[in-house]
Amino acid sequence: MLAFVAVSANAQDTTGQRGVRIGLTYSPGTKPGVVVLPVSGVGGDSLQAIIARDLDFGDRIEVIDGSQVQQPASGAATPSYAIWKSMGAAALVQVTLTPSFARVAVHDVTAKKVAQSRDFPLAADVGSASWRMDVHGISDEVERWVTGVRGVAGTRILYVRGGRVYVVDSDGFGEHAITSSGTAMAPAWHPDGHHIAYSVLGSNGWNIEVLDLANRGSRAVTATSGGLNTTPAFSPDGQWLVYAHGGENGTDIYAVPAFTGGAARRVTLGRGTDNVSPTFSPDGRRIAFTSGRSGHPEVYTADFDGANMELLTPFNFGDQNYRSNPDWSPDGRSIVFQSQLDGLFQIMTINLRDRSIKQLTSEGANEDPSWAPDGRHVVFTSSRTGVKQLFVLDTESGRARQLTHGSGSRLSAWSRYLDRAP
């Protein structure tokens, strides 16, 4: 139905099967140009700005500023395709607000017609957290229509600052504390997006708590109470919680049912060494974790029951390098981790098929990476501004943006999709 330009093998979009591409002009190494047209009505300006920024942050689209172009009122007339084409636009995003929803149309400039259109729910209170999340949901679907890959604007990021767990929207807005006081570490999302787990310091040591974001009710995981309990991670099906438990003979990884309680099952046999920071493969069958069993920290993988363990990160015997904090990519193909170079941590990925390693950062110290659900963006802690802040990195282009501005932000965890879009 549309003019389809074949995408060559080395085009940026390597996941065409995942979404339904609408076949806009999309040359290798070139991002499609998109104009977000002005939006009439209450909150229209904000909505237009948020969608344009989301598409820009997605790093798959070139957002074209159309503000200098004389335009008919949104929805009132057919856009002047010729003008937009001359500006390099492949698609136009046109949003029409009604009292209860937003009608979103994406125009194919080359084909001179609407390529996709849908009505999206939109919270009534303009500017509220749920309204913003609804707008992010629109952005993510527009990105999928244009590039074939869903955006990640409709997500949030957990992190720690000043001993409290915070959450912030993917675009840096809506930042607020979740835990009230005390010393918390290592927050993690449940895949349902409604629960989180973290480690909190008490009088008898560190304990894991699971918190319901809706009512802020928290529940302590008591299967291994006392001593050290930290670095929780939920299984992809949400049924299991794995975490590191340390007593007086090293720290090992344990698994407990996420919500029903019950006895803890030991996953690793560290024999007095430290085994922490577990992360699940997307199919839930394997975990990756940090272990000091070789004498210094390295990243290992094992089956969820602890069998078939293997060293993932290569090291030279006797060296003092330090590799830790793995996070398994949502597509299952690679693991992001931190590796010490010249005394500073840098973010790296390792391809699980050929074990090739790619260094992603070099400025300042960079730690604690966590994948976005698109398997392309990574959030991490960086000291590049002089204090620890969260940054988002596009692993394809190397483009980075600062997410937080409150000093001492660290230990970030990126959610799955949280918006209402399909």
């Binding site: 008898n204 560190w206 001593g227 670095t231 000091g292 920290p297 330090y322 830790s324």
Partner: protein, 200 residues
């Protein structure tokens, strides 16, 4: 205490006697001075001397008690300093150096001399490693010190351990001089031990 109560009545008598002597109403004609009674003067002197001796003895006993209290306090302070002296570690290691072992041996003596004292060992790391891994490393450092003490006879229940990882540095700064002070176990009294005795 008992000395003081014995002294008091004699003191009152002496004061009463002196007050009676000094009283001279102006309107009344001067009475004949009473005949000097040498016996009563001697008795008063003897009483005054005995009061002075008792007072000196009291001061001595207070001084002795003070000295003993000072000694006990000094002994407690010295024992506390020994017991709570931090021990230090190499980078990414929980191995006990000879200095750390010597410090633990000294603590062992204090713990043996004070069977009611309980301690908490807090493991800490420098800032360089992973925040998360460092919690486990701190736990291992605290466990290492506890194991040293329990293997030498200290009851397991008298020592609990906790890790603060790199969350509670003792020294600020981002160089080895700060890091070496932060890779440590700290020791604190968690029960008993209000008046520690020196190692025997």
């Amino acid at each position: 205490m008992t000395g003081k109560t014995r002294v008091a009545p004699a003191l009152l008598l002496a004061i009463a006697a002196m007050a009676a002597c000094g009283k001279k109403p102006e309107t009344a004609p001067a009475p004949e001075p009473p005949p000097v009674n040498q016996d009563s003067i001697d008795a008063a002197r003897a009483r005054a001397d005995s009061i002075a001796r008792a007072e000196a003895a009291r001061r001595d006993s207070i001084a002795r008690a003070q000295a003993e209290a000072d000694r006990i306090r000094a002994e407690h302070q010295a024992a506390l300093a020994t017991l709570t002296a931090p021990i230090y570690f190499e980078y990414d290691s929980d191995a006990l150096s000879s200095e750390a072992s010597a410090s633990l041996d000294a603590k062992l003596g204090i713990l043996n001399a004070n069977p009611d004292a309980r301690i908490r060992i807090a493991g800490n790391t420098d800032e360089r490693g992973s925040d998360e891994y460092n919690l486990a490393l701190g736990q291992r450092r605290a466990a290492q010190a506890k194991r040293y003490l329990t293997q030498r006879g200290i009851a397991d229940s008298r020592i609990d351990i906790i890790s603060y990882g790199e969350e509670r540095p003792a020294a600020d700064g981002h160089d080895e001089s700060a890091w070496s002070q932060n890779r440590r176990d700290e020791f604190e009294i968690s029960g008993g031990g209000q008046q520690l005795k020196a190692a025997r």
